[in-house]
């Protein structure tokens, strides 16, 4: 057996948002997602670290739970692990119960519940920095006596903030090998009893100047104001989309110019080899370069997402919009998964694990792909940049930003509409619970935000140099062969396999205004949505004849060749299109049913086709 398998296993458990994942990252050096709302972690995560004694310890990060009496799939994971019922895994050797020192009235109850399992445990009083700032005084020794468990203080977000915990683990893990004590006898102790114990412990060890922080109170008065709050929410959303366009433009141009220059230089070197020249310039540089230009926009979007996630504003937004979600038949709990879907539908669908009711969860999963994921941003911005003039409306707003906002908004509205229809179809009268905790506000740490953006950039670049590059090369190949016959007049792509497939698909897509080039790009776009953009770039680079081929930049090419109706139709298509195999795969995994995959893909395709058809026909009639 490997030594690792025998090294002691330590589980981090505790209420949601108590900082378990932050501690896990601090100890193991990982980069798991940390954010300021309940229900961020929905899976069991494992890491390891070496204690000062040289012993390797294995650490499990678990979803937060309010109680071991699990109400949702993510809580069930935590319960099963704590009780040693998780498939293929004995109970952990030591449980670290993490509690937020500013929120002990709630968190200590769970600590006591875990204690009743009778396993070796230690309480980590986290967020001691925030507690001190608020003047909360905790007598650690008295608390430890009152609860009957060892207590250490931690600050998960500070370097060295977990030193006391590490030292404790190092010392106690050696001793734990003994059999755990028996669980205490039965369930005579009911809720009231646990709560009474918590009160007693608090009275003995904790001095709280105020129940809440003054800053939170003041901010909540503004942010949750019935009118002011909604206005702020609208302003925040609007600012994001404006920024995506206005701030990114100079960076985008710089990237574009850089890629163009590099392409021209390498193209020059390969002048004598026509085939390779075509692969490198029409395929790789045209395709990848075009996608690369969107990196600044994606990073700006994520800058906002990361800051909002850490600030604690998101649950407040959910609070404001809850009524709307309720009308649509969604639970307020759906808000955060749907919001994560703006980054990518996959984490959004995973995050639905924190939804208690299975039907609510399925509805949320089905509508999550309607939230505009960041991979659609390149498609949107390409088309908007080419067809919507850069002008100011109402003296304030950038028209391109307004259109982008509208597209996102269209996604949200259709998600609500679809959820409403699902509810109707099911004749669902069940209750949809909210029960959502609003966390304290926190200032995002610039360093963490910077790391988050860097990670995001790495992911994007890995995608560009991986799957997007591979698909671009394949597409280039299919668009170049079979080679045109002698004396052909049209560009070679017209005789190639891809060209023929595109022409064949055009019959299906002509009613919604797609030409054969778009049809070709739809296919590799199945693998990743951005690939649609790189594919269009490749296809257009290859169909350009003569001198203008070199200068042809995708935006200019399509602006010259497409009608406005086609462009709008493609935009409408992308609001709905189910074109993301990864999303479908994750729906399959999370719902364990092909039927749901079929339902999702089917309704999304139907909506996409319908929306594009209507858009195209109306736009054509008007222009």
């Amino acid at each position: 057996m490997n030594a690792l398998v025998e090294s002691p296993r330590i589980a981090l458990v505790g209420n949601p948002n108590s900082g378990k994942t932050a501690l896990f990252n601090r100890l193991t050096g990982s980069q798991q997602k940390v954010a300021n709302y309940a229900g961020v972690t929905v899976e069991r995560k494992e890491g390891r670290f070496v204690a000062p004694s040289g012993r390797t310890l294995r650490l499990l990060d678990l979803p937060g739970a309010y109680s071991l009496d699990a109400a949702s799939p993510d809580e069930a994971i935590t319960r099963d692990i704590c009780e040693g019922r998780y498939p293929g895994e004995p109970a952990p050797d030591l449980i670290v119960c993490v509690a937020d020192a500013t929120n002990l009235r709630l968190h200590l109850r769970f600590v006591l519940e875990v204690k009743r399992l009778g396993r070796p445990m230690v309480l980590a009083l986290n967020m001691m920095d925030a507690a001190r700032k608020r003047g909360i005084r905790i007598d650690v020794a008295a608390l430890s006596d009152a609860l009957g468990v060892p207590v250490v203080e931690t600050i998960a977000v500070q370097r060295g903030g977990a030193a006391a915990l590490v030292e404790h683990l190092d010392r106690s893990v050696a001793a734990v090998a003994t059999a755990p004590s028996l669980p205490d006898s039965g369930d005579a102790a009911v809720e009231a009893d646990l709560h009474a114990q918590v009160r007693a412990a608090l009275a003995a060890a904790v001095t709280m100047p105020r129940a809440t922080s003054t800053v939170d109170d003041a901010l909540d008065r503004i942010v949750l104001h019935p009118i002011g709050g909604l206005a702020i929410l609208a302003a925040v959303m609007f600012l994001i989309f404006q920024a995506v366009f206005s701030w990114a433009a100079p960076l985008q141009d710089a990237v574009g110019a850089g890629v163009g220059a590099a392409g021209a230089w390498i193209g020059g070197l390969l002048e004598s080899m026509p085939l390779l020249h075509s692969l490198v310039t029409d395929g790789i540089f045209a395709g990848l370069g075009t996608v690369l230009e969107f990196l600044p926009q994606i990073l700006i979007l994520f800058l906002f997402i990361l800051m909002l996630e850490e600030s604690g504003y998101l649950p407040r937004a959910a609070f404001l919009l809850d009524r709307l979600m309720f009308k649509a038949g969604l639970t307020g709990r759906s808000f955060i998964p749907l919001l994560s879907s703006f980054a990518c539908a996959i984490p959004g669908i995973m995050a639905t694990r924190s939804i208690q009711d299975p039907r609510d969860r399925l509805t949320t999963i089905l509508v999550a792909p309607l939230m505009t994921c960041s991979a659609r941003l390149p498609v949107y911005t390409l088309l908007i940049g080419a067809f919507i003039p850069r002008q100011t409306v109402l003296g304030l707003f950038n028209l391109q930003g307004v259109v982008l906002f509208t597209l996102y908004f269209a996604g949200i509205v259709s998600a609500l509409a679809v959820a409403w229809v699902i509810k109707r179809l099911r004749r669902d009268r069940s209750e949809h619970a909210l029960l959502m905790e609003l966390p304290s506000y926190r200032l995002p740490n610039p360093r963490d935000v910077a790391i988050g953006l860097w990670e995001r950039a790495k992911i994007f670049l890995r995608r560009v140099t991986g799957i997007i590059l591979a698909l671009t090369v394949l597409l280039w190949f299919l668009s170049s062969f079979p080679a045109p016959p002698e004396g052909a007049t049209l560009p070679p792509i017209d005789y190639s396999l891809a060209g023929r497939i595109g022409r064949w698909m055009e019959h299906v897509f002509a009613p919604i205004g797609f030409n054969w080039q778009i049809c070709i790009a739809l296919i590799p776009g199945l693998a990743a949505r951005e690939v649609a953009v790189s594919s269009l770039a490749t296809v257009y680079a290859m169909s350009a004849v003569g001198e203008d081929a070199i200068a042809a930049e995708l935006g200019t090419a399509i602006a010259a060749q497409w009608s406005l109706a086609t462009a709008l139709s493609l935009l409408a298509w992308y609001v709905f299109a189910p074109q993301c195999m990864s999303t479908l795969a994750v729906i399959r995994r999370e719902t364990n049913s092909w039927r749901n995959v079929g339902v999702a893909a089917g309704y999304l395709f139907a909506l996409a086709y319908l929306a594009s058809f209507v858009t195209y026909q109306i736009a054509r009639a008007l222009t």
Binding site: Y66, L104, R109, F319, F326, L435
Partner: protein, 80 residues
Amino acid sequence: MRLSELKKGASAVVREVEDAHAADPIARRLRELGFVGGEPVRVVASGPVGGDPLLVQIGYTRFALRRAEAARVLVDGGVA
């Protein structure tokens, strides 16, 4: 009196949580979150449309509850 009947800004003390039906998971969860006899509560804010949901302060924590959930909590000494 029920928690859902409290005005914005009003305080009260929890008497108990009532099950809306047998083995009501929402009532159980409310108890776990600290809605047990003798605990002071306060309605801090309410949603923009129809005053739903409610933002309730219990202990040191704030929870957003829809009115249907808040109606399970019986309270004493509140001002409607």
